[in-house]
Symmetry: C2
Subunit: 180 residues, 2 copies
Amino acid sequence: MPTAVEQSKSLFVRRWGEMAAYWGISRTMAEIHALLYATPTPLCTDDIMAQLAISRGNTSMSLRSLVDWGLIERVHHRGDRKEYFVANADVWALFANITRQRQRREVEPILDTVRRCRDLVDEELPRLKGDEAADLRAYRQRLDDMLEFLTAVARIVDLFLRLGPKGLKRVNGVLRKLVA
Amino acid sequence: MPTAVEQSKSLFVRRWGEMAAYWGISRTMAEIHALLYATPTPLCTDDIMAQLAISRGNTSMSLRSLVDWGLIERVHHRGDRKEYFVANADVWALFANITRQRQRREVEPILDTVRRCRDLVDEELPRLKGDEAADLRAYRQRLDDMLEFLTAVARIVDLFLRLGPKGLKRVNGVLRKLVA
DNA sequence: TGATACTTTCAGTATATATTGAAATTACAG
DNA sequence: CTGTAATTTCAATATATACTGAAAGTATCA
């Protein structure tokens, strides 16, 4: 492979890996994903091990996670018992997947907890008077603010995901008008 | 403080801390922030150390980061040389801050890199023919897809931030129509 | 100016997370 | 079934990140 392209791919893989932490996936998972995304041809475990210089175990576990996340797929070639892998080429599907998982893993548990925190305060509030009650009401108010905000965001994200890939430009247009 | 409320606050602090990793801030930073958000009264370093059972050094560094992020503020009481801290109570401002920082730290570097990767491919493409050129064009296409998607998202986030707190409900309403 | 109260820094250490590699397991072809 | 190639698992290990605490630094007051 020519050198400018090699550079391009390795740059892409490296940067994708650096960003991994932010997206809640490990560096290796992200690098493997980037490599597959950059390579339309299916790759097998050994290809990946060689190109990224990582162990067989790590490769196996990371590939499994990526399949679980729905970011890559297994491919079989007839007459060859090796497994090959390809990345999902649809960028929208990629981010929709990640967003859905994060929604479920991050936003929903927080919402549950904040609701429970609010209920615990409500148990106690009627029994109190004066300064202590005032402080508590302030805390309770903040929990409510948080709750309202988070549910609004969750709803918007949900609507957004339903819009699908073609919705991106429409949303852009609509928002542009709202801002103006 | 009554026990149901104690439970409520410690639950809130713990959960906020667990979510920290996802948001790119450390557990302690998140816990301190949660504690301050849950406590409308300003707290000093010793209050925080005591309540979260963490060291002075850790407290000091985390508080500084939180101030840098714009998530909390320093407060001074006359006749007292201690520094006190309060959380920004505005939930919208909180998330707008985090979003802006993540945009700058994550989305922009990725965009720069992907553009550079594309340019490197374009350097090489005209010199190639046949299968190799086809593979390369596929890679180049994927970089373009990614670029288009990321710039669209960046634009939307930007518009969103400009809308401010009152825009949340309007966006919700508008999106709801788009989906229907 | 010195004494005191408070804050910051950072080398050392602890903790959490990711990775290796070899053994165990599975899947397939003959 | 048997032998072999491929994959998975997981205890040991490496690496990255966060935390501690004591020493150094800074600000304020008498």
